[in-house]
Symmetry: C2
Subunit: 213 residues, 2 copies
Protein backbone atom coordinates (compact mmCIF):
# COMPACT_ATOMS: atom_id res chain seq x y z
CA UNK A 1 0.00 0.00 0.00
CA UNK A 2 1.30 3.42 -0.91
CA UNK A 3 2.57 5.62 1.87
CA UNK A 4 -0.16 8.25 1.71
CA UNK A 5 -3.01 5.87 0.97
CA UNK A 6 -6.09 5.81 3.14
CA UNK A 7 -6.24 2.07 3.72
CA UNK A 8 -9.72 1.78 2.32
CA UNK A 9 -10.98 0.06 -0.78
CA UNK A 10 -13.51 2.33 -2.45
CA UNK A 11 -13.97 4.52 -5.50
CA UNK A 12 -13.92 7.88 -3.76
CA UNK A 13 -10.90 6.86 -1.72
CA UNK A 14 -8.97 5.88 -4.81
CA UNK A 15 -9.92 9.14 -6.50
CA UNK A 16 -8.61 11.29 -3.67
CA UNK A 17 -5.46 9.21 -3.56
CA UNK A 18 -4.89 10.08 -7.22
CA UNK A 19 -5.90 13.76 -7.32
CA UNK A 20 -6.44 14.75 -3.70
CA UNK A 21 -2.99 16.06 -2.89
CA UNK A 22 -2.59 19.77 -2.47
CA UNK A 23 -2.40 21.66 -5.82
CA UNK A 24 -3.13 18.54 -7.88
CA UNK A 25 -6.68 19.41 -8.88
CA UNK A 26 -5.68 22.96 -9.81
CA UNK A 27 -3.09 21.52 -12.18
CA UNK A 28 -5.77 19.27 -13.66
CA UNK A 29 -8.08 22.26 -14.06
CA UNK A 30 -5.45 24.24 -15.95
CA UNK A 31 -4.70 21.26 -18.17
CA UNK A 32 -8.41 20.89 -18.93
CA UNK A 33 -8.07 24.23 -20.70
CA UNK A 34 -5.33 22.78 -22.88
CA UNK A 35 -1.80 21.34 -22.86
CA UNK A 36 0.66 23.54 -21.02
CA UNK A 37 4.38 23.81 -20.53
CA UNK A 38 6.01 23.66 -17.12
CA UNK A 39 6.56 27.39 -17.03
CA UNK A 40 3.00 28.14 -18.12
CA UNK A 41 1.64 26.00 -15.31
CA UNK A 42 3.92 27.72 -12.82
CA UNK A 43 2.75 31.09 -14.07
CA UNK A 44 -0.91 30.18 -13.73
CA UNK A 45 -0.40 28.94 -10.16
CA UNK A 46 1.50 31.88 -8.73
CA UNK A 47 2.15 30.51 -5.27
CA UNK A 48 3.11 26.95 -6.10
CA UNK A 49 6.73 26.17 -5.20
CA UNK A 50 8.61 24.71 -8.13
CA UNK A 51 9.52 21.53 -6.29
CA UNK A 52 5.86 20.89 -5.52
CA UNK A 53 4.88 21.45 -9.13
CA UNK A 54 7.58 19.02 -10.25
CA UNK A 55 6.47 16.44 -7.67
CA UNK A 56 2.79 16.72 -8.56
CA UNK A 57 3.49 16.40 -12.27
CA UNK A 58 5.35 13.17 -11.62
CA UNK A 59 2.63 11.82 -9.35
CA UNK A 60 -0.15 12.67 -11.77
CA UNK A 61 1.85 11.04 -14.51
CA UNK A 62 2.34 7.88 -12.46
CA UNK A 63 -1.38 7.91 -11.74
CA UNK A 64 -2.15 7.94 -15.46
CA UNK A 65 -3.93 11.29 -15.26
CA UNK A 66 -1.46 13.33 -17.31
CA UNK A 67 1.40 12.66 -19.69
CA UNK A 68 4.47 14.46 -20.93
CA UNK A 69 4.22 15.07 -24.64
CA UNK A 70 7.05 16.30 -26.84
CA UNK A 71 5.91 19.12 -29.12
CA UNK A 72 8.45 20.32 -31.65
CA UNK A 73 11.50 21.01 -29.45
CA UNK A 74 9.57 21.59 -26.21
CA UNK A 75 7.72 19.37 -23.78
CA UNK A 76 4.12 20.02 -22.79
CA UNK A 77 1.96 18.34 -20.19
CA UNK A 78 -1.47 17.17 -21.22
CA UNK A 79 -4.27 15.10 -19.79
CA UNK A 80 -4.62 11.47 -20.74
CA UNK A 81 -8.08 10.32 -21.86
CA UNK A 82 -8.58 9.08 -18.30
CA UNK A 83 -7.62 12.46 -16.92
CA UNK A 84 -9.97 14.21 -19.31
CA UNK A 85 -12.84 12.23 -17.83
CA UNK A 86 -12.49 14.50 -14.82
CA UNK A 87 -13.89 17.45 -16.75
CA UNK A 88 -17.52 17.13 -15.57
CA UNK A 89 -16.32 16.60 -12.00
CA UNK A 90 -14.11 19.68 -12.01
CA UNK A 91 -16.78 21.78 -13.71
CA UNK A 92 -19.31 20.78 -11.05
CA UNK A 93 -16.81 21.40 -8.30
CA UNK A 94 -16.06 24.82 -9.73
CA UNK A 95 -19.75 25.72 -9.76
CA UNK A 96 -20.04 24.55 -6.18
CA UNK A 97 -17.01 26.49 -5.01
CA UNK A 98 -18.09 29.60 -6.89
CA UNK A 99 -21.08 29.91 -4.58
CA UNK A 100 -18.73 30.24 -1.62
CA UNK A 101 -16.58 32.96 -3.17
CA UNK A 102 -16.64 36.17 -1.21
CA UNK A 103 -15.34 39.44 -2.57
CA UNK A 104 -11.86 39.09 -4.07
CA UNK A 105 -9.01 39.99 -1.76
CA UNK A 106 -5.97 41.95 -2.79
CA UNK A 107 -3.58 39.02 -2.56
CA UNK A 108 -5.82 36.88 -4.77
CA UNK A 109 -4.98 36.74 -8.43
CA UNK A 110 -7.03 35.52 -11.37
CA UNK A 111 -5.05 33.52 -13.89
CA UNK A 112 -6.02 33.21 -17.53
CA UNK A 113 -6.64 29.49 -17.13
CA UNK A 114 -8.81 29.85 -14.05
CA UNK A 115 -10.88 32.56 -15.74
CA UNK A 116 -11.32 30.45 -18.86
CA UNK A 117 -12.42 27.58 -16.68
CA UNK A 118 -14.83 29.69 -14.67
CA UNK A 119 -16.37 30.96 -17.90
CA UNK A 120 -16.85 27.36 -19.01
CA UNK A 121 -18.45 26.61 -15.67
CA UNK A 122 -20.78 29.56 -16.01
CA UNK A 123 -21.66 28.92 -19.64
CA UNK A 124 -25.36 28.25 -20.26
CA UNK A 125 -25.71 26.47 -23.61
CA UNK A 126 -29.52 26.68 -23.64
CA UNK A 127 -29.49 30.42 -23.15
CA UNK A 128 -26.67 30.88 -25.65
CA UNK A 129 -28.40 28.86 -28.34
CA UNK A 130 -31.24 31.39 -28.42
CA UNK A 131 -28.87 34.33 -28.90
CA UNK A 132 -26.94 35.50 -31.97
CA UNK A 133 -23.34 34.47 -32.49
CA UNK A 134 -21.18 36.87 -30.51
CA UNK A 135 -17.50 37.41 -29.83
CA UNK A 136 -16.30 39.16 -26.70
CA UNK A 137 -12.87 40.25 -25.57
CA UNK A 138 -11.86 40.93 -22.03
CA UNK A 139 -8.71 41.23 -20.00
CA UNK A 140 -7.94 39.40 -16.80
CA UNK A 141 -4.65 40.07 -15.12
CA UNK A 142 -2.10 39.98 -17.89
CA UNK A 143 -4.11 37.73 -20.19
CA UNK A 144 -6.32 38.85 -23.06
CA UNK A 145 -9.21 36.50 -23.56
CA UNK A 146 -11.17 35.94 -26.73
CA UNK A 147 -14.62 34.53 -26.02
CA UNK A 148 -16.61 33.21 -28.94
CA UNK A 149 -20.17 32.03 -28.48
CA UNK A 150 -21.72 30.38 -31.51
CA UNK A 151 -25.06 28.74 -30.83
CA UNK A 152 -24.60 26.39 -27.90
CA UNK A 153 -20.85 26.14 -28.45
CA UNK A 154 -18.35 28.09 -26.39
CA UNK A 155 -14.75 28.75 -27.32
CA UNK A 156 -12.54 30.71 -24.93
CA UNK A 157 -8.87 31.22 -25.54
CA UNK A 158 -6.07 33.62 -24.94
CA UNK A 159 -5.46 36.09 -27.72
CA UNK A 160 -7.17 38.80 -29.65
CA UNK A 161 -9.20 39.23 -32.79
CA UNK A 162 -12.25 41.03 -34.09
CA UNK A 163 -15.02 41.09 -31.51
CA UNK A 164 -18.47 42.56 -31.04
CA UNK A 165 -17.74 43.79 -27.56
CA UNK A 166 -14.49 44.41 -25.75
CA UNK A 167 -14.79 45.27 -22.08
CA UNK A 168 -12.77 45.43 -18.93
CA UNK A 169 -14.44 44.45 -15.67
CA UNK A 170 -11.28 44.36 -13.59
CA UNK A 171 -11.96 42.43 -10.43
CA UNK A 172 -15.71 42.57 -11.00
CA UNK A 173 -16.02 39.83 -13.62
CA UNK A 174 -17.18 37.33 -11.04
CA UNK A 175 -19.85 39.67 -9.72
CA UNK A 176 -21.04 39.97 -13.29
CA UNK A 177 -21.25 36.18 -13.58
CA UNK A 178 -23.03 35.95 -10.27
CA UNK A 179 -25.66 38.43 -11.40
CA UNK A 180 -24.68 40.80 -8.62
CA UNK A 181 -24.07 43.56 -11.11
CA UNK A 182 -26.68 44.97 -13.44
CA UNK A 183 -24.93 45.36 -16.82
CA UNK A 184 -26.25 48.85 -17.62
CA UNK A 185 -25.60 50.23 -14.19
CA UNK A 186 -22.19 48.59 -14.06
CA UNK A 187 -21.20 50.51 -17.18
CA UNK A 188 -22.78 53.72 -15.95
CA UNK A 189 -21.01 53.48 -12.61
CA UNK A 190 -17.68 52.56 -14.15
CA UNK A 191 -17.50 49.05 -12.69
CA UNK A 192 -17.21 47.83 -16.25
CA UNK A 193 -15.48 49.79 -18.99
CA UNK A 194 -16.49 49.32 -22.60
CA UNK A 195 -13.38 49.43 -24.76
CA UNK A 196 -15.00 48.68 -28.05
CA UNK A 197 -18.43 47.85 -29.46
CA UNK A 198 -21.93 48.41 -28.18
CA UNK A 199 -22.28 48.33 -24.42
CA UNK A 200 -25.75 46.78 -24.66
CA UNK A 201 -24.05 43.52 -25.59
CA UNK A 202 -22.97 43.19 -21.97
CA UNK A 203 -26.56 42.18 -21.23
CA UNK A 204 -26.19 39.35 -23.69
CA UNK A 205 -22.97 38.36 -21.96
CA UNK A 206 -24.61 38.01 -18.56
CA UNK A 207 -27.45 35.98 -20.06
CA UNK A 208 -24.91 33.66 -21.65
CA UNK A 209 -22.78 33.24 -18.54
CA UNK A 210 -24.33 32.81 -15.14
CA UNK A 211 -23.44 31.17 -11.87
CA UNK A 212 -25.68 31.58 -8.85
CA UNK A 213 -23.91 32.87 -5.76
Amino acid sequence: MAARSYGQYSGVTRAVELIGERWALLIVRDLLVGPRRYGELAEGLPRIPSNILATRLKELQAAGVIRRAPRSRVVVYELTPYGRELEPVVLALGAWGFKALGPPEDEQTVSGESMIFDLRTAFRPEAAAALPTTAYATTVGSADLLIRVDGDVLDVRRGGGPVDLAFDAGRNVHRLLAGDLDPERAIAQGDVTVLHGRGELLGRFVRTFHLAA
Copy 2:
Protein backbone atom coordinates in the same frame (compact mmCIF):
# COMPACT_ATOMS: atom_id res chain seq x y z
CA MET B 1 -6.38 35.40 3.35
CA ALA B 2 -6.46 32.08 5.19
CA ALA B 3 -3.17 30.38 5.89
CA ARG B 4 -3.65 27.41 3.57
CA SER B 5 -5.39 29.29 0.79
CA TYR B 6 -4.09 29.19 -2.74
CA GLY B 7 -4.06 32.91 -3.41
CA GLN B 8 -6.29 32.60 -6.41
CA TYR B 9 -9.81 33.80 -7.01
CA SER B 10 -11.72 31.04 -8.77
CA GLY B 11 -14.48 28.51 -8.19
CA VAL B 12 -12.34 25.37 -8.25
CA THR B 13 -9.78 27.00 -5.99
CA ARG B 14 -12.41 27.91 -3.43
CA ALA B 15 -13.83 24.39 -3.58
CA VAL B 16 -10.50 22.73 -2.82
CA GLU B 17 -9.91 25.23 -0.04
CA LEU B 18 -13.17 24.06 1.52
CA ILE B 19 -13.02 20.30 0.98
CA GLY B 20 -9.55 19.62 -0.37
CA GLU B 21 -7.74 18.88 2.88
CA ARG B 22 -6.75 15.33 3.54
CA TRP B 23 -9.68 13.14 4.77
CA ALA B 24 -12.25 15.91 4.27
CA LEU B 25 -13.95 14.45 1.21
CA LEU B 26 -14.12 11.01 2.79
CA ILE B 27 -15.95 12.54 5.73
CA VAL B 28 -18.33 14.22 3.30
CA ARG B 29 -18.87 10.91 1.51
CA ASP B 30 -19.78 9.14 4.71
CA LEU B 31 -22.15 11.94 5.70
CA LEU B 32 -23.82 11.72 2.29
CA VAL B 33 -24.98 8.29 3.43
CA GLY B 34 -26.61 9.87 6.47
CA PRO B 35 -25.94 11.76 9.70
CA ARG B 36 -23.26 10.12 11.82
CA ARG B 37 -21.84 10.42 15.29
CA TYR B 38 -18.20 11.15 15.95
CA GLY B 39 -17.47 7.56 16.85
CA GLU B 40 -19.28 6.22 13.81
CA LEU B 41 -17.21 8.43 11.55
CA ALA B 42 -14.02 7.31 13.28
CA GLU B 43 -15.06 3.69 12.85
CA GLY B 44 -15.74 4.12 9.14
CA LEU B 45 -12.34 5.79 8.59
CA PRO B 46 -10.09 3.32 10.39
CA ARG B 47 -6.81 5.13 9.96
CA ILE B 48 -7.86 8.69 10.68
CA PRO B 49 -6.20 10.10 13.80
CA SER B 50 -8.75 11.46 16.21
CA ASN B 51 -7.20 14.92 16.25
CA ILE B 52 -7.49 15.12 12.48
CA LEU B 53 -11.11 14.02 12.57
CA ALA B 54 -11.87 16.65 15.20
CA THR B 55 -10.02 19.32 13.22
CA ARG B 56 -11.75 18.46 9.95
CA LEU B 57 -15.17 18.47 11.54
CA LYS B 58 -14.55 21.97 12.82
CA GLU B 59 -13.20 23.17 9.48
CA LEU B 60 -16.07 21.71 7.52
CA GLN B 61 -18.44 23.29 9.97
CA ALA B 62 -16.78 26.68 9.59
CA ALA B 63 -17.00 26.22 5.83
CA GLY B 64 -20.75 25.68 6.04
CA VAL B 65 -20.52 22.16 4.65
CA ILE B 66 -21.60 20.26 7.75
CA ARG B 67 -23.29 21.09 11.05
CA ARG B 68 -23.50 19.61 14.51
CA ALA B 69 -27.03 18.57 15.28
CA PRO B 70 -28.27 17.51 18.71
CA ARG B 71 -30.35 14.36 18.51
CA SER B 72 -32.00 13.25 21.74
CA ARG B 73 -29.05 13.25 24.15
CA VAL B 74 -26.34 12.70 21.52
CA VAL B 75 -24.75 14.88 18.87
CA VAL B 76 -24.61 13.87 15.22
CA TYR B 77 -22.85 15.50 12.31
CA GLU B 78 -24.84 16.08 9.16
CA LEU B 79 -24.43 17.88 5.87
CA THR B 80 -25.93 21.31 5.41
CA PRO B 81 -27.99 21.86 2.25
CA TYR B 82 -24.86 23.39 0.73
CA GLY B 83 -22.85 20.32 1.65
CA ARG B 84 -25.48 18.04 0.19
CA GLU B 85 -25.01 19.77 -3.14
CA LEU B 86 -21.72 17.89 -3.35
CA GLU B 87 -23.53 14.60 -3.89
CA PRO B 88 -23.32 14.55 -7.71
CA VAL B 89 -19.67 15.60 -7.54
CA VAL B 90 -18.72 12.86 -5.09
CA LEU B 91 -20.73 10.25 -7.01
CA ALA B 92 -18.92 11.17 -10.22
CA LEU B 93 -15.59 11.18 -8.46
CA GLY B 94 -16.32 7.76 -7.02
CA ALA B 95 -17.13 6.38 -10.45
CA TRP B 96 -13.90 7.86 -11.79
CA GLY B 97 -11.79 6.47 -8.97
CA PHE B 98 -13.44 3.08 -9.21
CA LYS B 99 -11.90 2.60 -12.64
CA ALA B 100 -8.44 2.90 -11.11
CA LEU B 101 -9.05 0.36 -8.36
CA GLY B 102 -6.78 -2.62 -8.59
CA PRO B 103 -7.33 -5.81 -6.65
CA PRO B 104 -7.96 -5.16 -2.97
CA GLU B 105 -4.93 -5.41 -0.71
CA ASP B 106 -4.93 -7.03 2.66
CA GLU B 107 -4.49 -3.79 4.59
CA GLN B 108 -7.44 -2.22 2.80
CA THR B 109 -10.76 -2.33 4.55
CA VAL B 110 -14.24 -1.71 3.20
CA SER B 111 -16.45 0.26 5.54
CA GLY B 112 -20.23 0.04 5.53
CA GLU B 113 -20.50 3.67 4.44
CA SER B 114 -18.03 3.35 1.59
CA MET B 115 -19.79 0.23 0.32
CA ILE B 116 -23.18 1.91 0.50
CA PHE B 117 -21.75 4.81 -1.42
CA ASP B 118 -20.11 2.61 -4.05
CA LEU B 119 -23.44 0.83 -4.55
CA ARG B 120 -25.10 4.19 -5.09
CA THR B 121 -22.39 5.07 -7.57
CA ALA B 122 -22.90 1.81 -9.42
CA PHE B 123 -26.69 1.93 -9.39
CA ARG B 124 -28.27 2.03 -12.84
CA PRO B 125 -31.80 3.39 -12.49
CA GLU B 126 -32.75 2.68 -16.12
CA ALA B 127 -31.77 -0.97 -15.83
CA ALA B 128 -33.42 -1.29 -12.43
CA ALA B 129 -36.70 0.19 -13.61
CA ALA B 130 -37.13 -2.70 -16.03
CA LEU B 131 -36.63 -5.31 -13.32
CA PRO B 132 -38.94 -6.51 -10.54
CA THR B 133 -38.68 -5.06 -7.07
CA THR B 134 -35.95 -6.94 -5.26
CA ALA B 135 -34.33 -6.91 -1.83
CA TYR B 136 -30.79 -8.14 -1.31
CA ALA B 137 -28.73 -8.65 1.80
CA THR B 138 -24.97 -8.80 1.90
CA THR B 139 -22.21 -8.45 4.43
CA VAL B 140 -19.19 -6.24 4.15
CA GLY B 141 -16.68 -6.25 6.95
CA SER B 142 -18.73 -6.11 10.11
CA ALA B 143 -21.73 -4.40 8.52
CA ASP B 144 -24.88 -6.09 7.28
CA LEU B 145 -26.39 -4.22 4.39
CA LEU B 146 -29.99 -4.27 3.28
CA ILE B 147 -30.34 -3.27 -0.37
CA ARG B 148 -33.81 -2.55 -1.66
CA VAL B 149 -34.40 -1.83 -5.32
CA ASP B 150 -37.89 -0.71 -6.21
CA GLY B 151 -38.31 0.51 -9.75
CA ASP B 152 -35.67 3.18 -10.33
CA VAL B 153 -35.32 3.89 -6.62
CA LEU B 154 -32.47 2.50 -4.53
CA ASP B 155 -32.39 2.26 -0.77
CA VAL B 156 -29.30 0.88 0.93
CA ARG B 157 -28.91 0.82 4.68
CA ARG B 158 -27.31 -1.11 7.47
CA GLY B 159 -29.51 -3.74 9.02
CA GLY B 160 -31.42 -6.85 8.19
CA GLY B 161 -34.89 -7.88 7.10
CA PRO B 162 -36.68 -10.18 4.68
CA VAL B 163 -34.85 -10.37 1.37
CA ASP B 164 -35.04 -12.22 -1.92
CA LEU B 165 -31.34 -12.98 -1.98
CA ALA B 166 -28.73 -12.98 0.74
CA PHE B 167 -25.17 -13.47 -0.41
CA ASP B 168 -21.61 -13.02 0.71
CA ALA B 169 -19.02 -11.96 -1.84
CA GLY B 170 -16.26 -11.23 0.64
CA ARG B 171 -13.66 -9.08 -1.03
CA ASN B 172 -15.11 -9.80 -4.47
CA VAL B 173 -18.06 -7.41 -4.38
CA HIS B 174 -16.21 -4.83 -6.43
CA ARG B 175 -15.30 -7.37 -9.08
CA LEU B 176 -18.97 -8.20 -9.27
CA LEU B 177 -19.79 -4.53 -9.80
CA ALA B 178 -17.07 -4.21 -12.41
CA GLY B 179 -18.49 -7.13 -14.37
CA ASP B 180 -15.26 -9.06 -13.90
CA LEU B 181 -17.14 -11.93 -12.36
CA ASP B 182 -19.83 -13.91 -14.11
CA PRO B 183 -22.59 -14.42 -11.52
CA GLU B 184 -23.22 -18.10 -12.20
CA ARG B 185 -19.57 -19.05 -12.33
CA ALA B 186 -18.84 -16.94 -9.27
CA ILE B 187 -21.33 -19.00 -7.27
CA ALA B 188 -20.12 -22.28 -8.77
CA GLN B 189 -16.50 -21.44 -7.97
CA GLY B 190 -17.28 -20.24 -4.47
CA ASP B 191 -16.30 -16.62 -5.06
CA VAL B 192 -19.81 -15.73 -3.99
CA THR B 193 -21.77 -17.70 -1.40
CA VAL B 194 -25.53 -17.74 -1.49
CA LEU B 195 -26.83 -17.66 2.07
CA HIS B 196 -30.50 -17.47 1.31
CA GLY B 197 -32.81 -17.30 -1.71
CA ARG B 198 -32.34 -18.19 -5.35
CA GLY B 199 -28.83 -17.74 -6.68
CA GLU B 200 -30.13 -16.71 -10.11
CA LEU B 201 -31.03 -13.37 -8.57
CA LEU B 202 -27.34 -12.52 -8.51
CA GLY B 203 -27.65 -11.95 -12.26
CA ARG B 204 -30.30 -9.36 -11.57
CA PHE B 205 -27.97 -7.78 -9.04
CA VAL B 206 -25.16 -7.30 -11.55
CA ARG B 207 -27.58 -5.84 -14.10
CA THR B 208 -28.78 -3.38 -11.47
CA PHE B 209 -25.31 -2.35 -10.29
CA HIS B 210 -22.50 -1.78 -12.71
CA LEU B 211 -19.34 0.30 -12.88
CA ALA B 212 -16.95 -0.07 -15.76
CA ALA B 213 -13.38 -0.81 -14.76
